[in-house]
């Protein structure tokens, strides 16, 4: 749906040149929710703004649904932009317009007939659950409600793509979850392609199908969310993942493991294996004792993801066999 090739954007600040984007390649498929994560200043905001030409790149090509956006100007660019919805961190609603009129705004821009505007706006307000706030002004709404208005407004002209520029960063965790749920519903109902950028790993974890990690203007890692979460390849990705699902094991336990003969294992269960009673089977089949030190289960989009830290004790041969058994399962086992 969105193809980004060799995208480069350089900002000049006096005599200093800042490479905000350095030869970025990315492909976003029709109907998926794609996340771009990075720390502030990594270039993610510039990247998303290059997709609707709010920033013009120095080099590279961006195509949205087959149209080369980078080559467009004037009226042609405006028409293309009408097919790309966008929501913002600070919502950017018109303070002088009511909720209804804010959602009607993009329809006025495309010269939609009045009666049609009315039906469409009411339909959208119902979709985002704000039918009763139609006459309120943005100043009277909470952050979450403002972002819902933003979403309704972005969807008004039935775009193929929705760009989310740190759309939940100004919201509290609970509201963030609600807004993300809404985005996911929209993605499922309408098959809308969503590209979201964020610095919050939980956002990626909750709704994204694929994720790209950006640092210093370059994509350093890119893949399905589950893969990046469970087996991050780069240092940057590991650092981001650690905050969310990684566990901190007390130093004392690690030392105990290093000194003694005990085996401290970290076992990760992904998907279906998270439901299997593997530990029980292990204890029944082998003369080993399992001491569970830590356990948790997370959800990455729709896939359950379990983590268990166990201490195995027993004879060396038994431990060996237990280890063999574990590695044959559909699990990731790691000795700590």
């Amino acid at each position: 749906m969105i193809k980004i090739r060799n995208l480069t954007k350089i900002f000049t600040d006096g005599h200093r040149e800042v490479r905000a984007l350095d030869d970025v390649d990315l492909e976003i498929n029709q109907g998926e929710i794609f996340g771009i994560i990075g720390l502030s200043g990594a270039g993610k905001s510039t990247l998303v703004r290059c997709i609707n030409m709010l920033e013009r790149p120095q080099a590279g090509v961006v195509t949205v649904d087959g149209t080369d956006i980078t080559s467009l100007k004037g009226r042609a660019l405006r028409t293309a932009r009408q097919r790309i919805g966008m929501i913002f961190q600070h919502f950017n609603l018109l303070s002088s317009r009511t909720v209804f009129d804010n959602v009607a705004f993009p329809l006025e821009i495309t010269n939609t007939p009045k009666q049609e505007i009315k039906t469409r706006v009411l339909e959208l307000l119902e979709l985002v659950g704000l039918e009763d706030r139609s006459d309120s002004y943005p100043a009277q709404l909470s952050g979450g409600q403002k972002q819902r208005v933003g979403i309704a407004r972005a969807l008004a002209n039935r775009p193929q793509v929705l760009l989310c520029d740190e759309a939940t960063s100004a919201l509290d965790p609970e509201t963030t979850t609600a807004v993300l749920d809404l985005l996911q519903d929209i993605n499922r109902q309408m098959g809308l392609t969503i590209l979201l950028i964020t610095h919050e790993m939980p956002v990626i974890q909750q709704i994204c199908d694929r994720v790209a990690v950006i640092e210093d203007g370059s994509i350093v890692e890119n893949g399905p969310v589950l893969q990046v979460f469970t087996a991050p390849k780069t240092r940057q990705a590991r650092r981001l993942v650690r905050g969310v699902i990684e566990i901190d094991i007390p130093q004392e336990l690690l030392e105990r493991s290093a000194n003694g003969k005990q085996n401290l294992l970290k076992i990760s269960f992904i998907g279906a294996s998270a439901g299997k009673p593997i530990m029980a089977e292990l204890m029944q089949r082998f003369p080993v004792t399992v001491n569970i030190l830590f356990g948790r289960i997370d959800q990455i989009k729709d896939t359950p993801f379990g983590t268990l830290v166990v201490e195995l004790s027993g004879d060396a041969p038994a431990l060996q066999e237990a280890w063999q058994f574990l590695t044959q399962q559909d699990l990731q086992v790691e000795v700590l």
Binding site: N92, S96, I109, D135
Partner: protein
């Protein structure tokens, strides 16, 4: 904040105006008392003076009223051009922006009394005469245009850049951004700017006597100062004070009413 949209009838509006001017604040009460005292003291003067005073008040309101409307009509587009031609804005154009900025600064740096005399030939071309109240309106308008343009510029710059960006992202044209985003979003500030212009023009209009324009300032100079009538001087100043207070209160009320923030 005024948010009830049902309260829209003419009578309610009128009531709110009266309320805002006299009813709600200590300042409002002061204005009401001052106005009453003023009207009573005017009646203690002889009928000729009274007639002169009312006539001068009418001249001032006429000059200022017409000049402020004309200046807004011309200054508003200029202010908009100043903003949208700025670097990075919707119609960025460094050359136009620079030239317009310089012209406006020149206009603002000429003292009014000099401007009034300097443009006499122009005034004669426009209204057919260089003497009288109508003739004074021309330099008043000319002086107010650059002032309005700068006030409009300041008001429009207050509009959140993110909102303009959102409109651009939706595919709005520059004209749509001006008419549907910049002006409506800045409306309360624009109204305050309009008030400031009107109040300022009352000050400028005191110099209209120099071209026989009449008005309250002229009355104060000719009768109060040159004929040593301190009481008339005081009276005209009191009328000016009350006029300015009423205009400012009304402007504040209207801006507050329009603001949805």
């Amino acid at each position: 904040m005024h948010t009830k949209r049902t309260e829209c009838g003419f009578r309610q509006t009128l009531r709110s105006i009266v309320h805002s001017i006299i009813g709600t604040s200590a300042a409002g009460v002061m204005i009401a008392i001052a106005t009453a005292v003023l009207l009573l003291s005017i009646r203690t003067f002889n009928p000729t003076i009274q007639h002169l005073l009312w006539q001068a008040t009418g001249e001032t309101l006429y000059m200022v009223g017409v000049a402020v409307v004309l200046a807004e009509l011309i200054g508003l587009p200029l202010g908009i051009i100043l903003v949208v031609t700025e670097k990075g804005h919707v119609l960025a154009n460094a050359l136009i922006n620079r030239i317009l900025g310089i012209v406006i600064n020149i206009g603002r740096s000429v003292p009014f009394i000099i401007l009034m005399v300097a443009i006499i030939p122009f005034t004669r071309r426009v209204v057919g005469t260089s003497i009288g109240t109508t003739a004074a309106m021309v330099p008043l308008t000319v002086a107010a245009i650059p002032f309005v343009a700068r006030l409009v510029e300041t008001a429009l710059k207050e509009v959140d850049a993110g909102v303009v960006e959102a409109a651009l992202a939706m595919g709005a044209s520059p004209l749509q951004i001006i008419c549907k985003v910049l002006i409506p979003e800045a409306l309360p500030s624009l109204v305050l700017g309009f008030t400031i212009t009107a109040v300022n023009l009352i000050g400028y209009s005191a110099m209209a006597g120099a071209v026989g324009g009449g008005g309250l300032g002229d009355l104060a100079v000719r009768y109060g100062y040159q004929r040593f009538r301190g009481d008339i001087m005081l009276l005209t100043v009191a009328v000016l004070i009350v006029l300015v207070q009423i205009m400012q209160s009304f402007g504040d009320w209207a801006a507050e009413r329009l603001s949805k923030k």
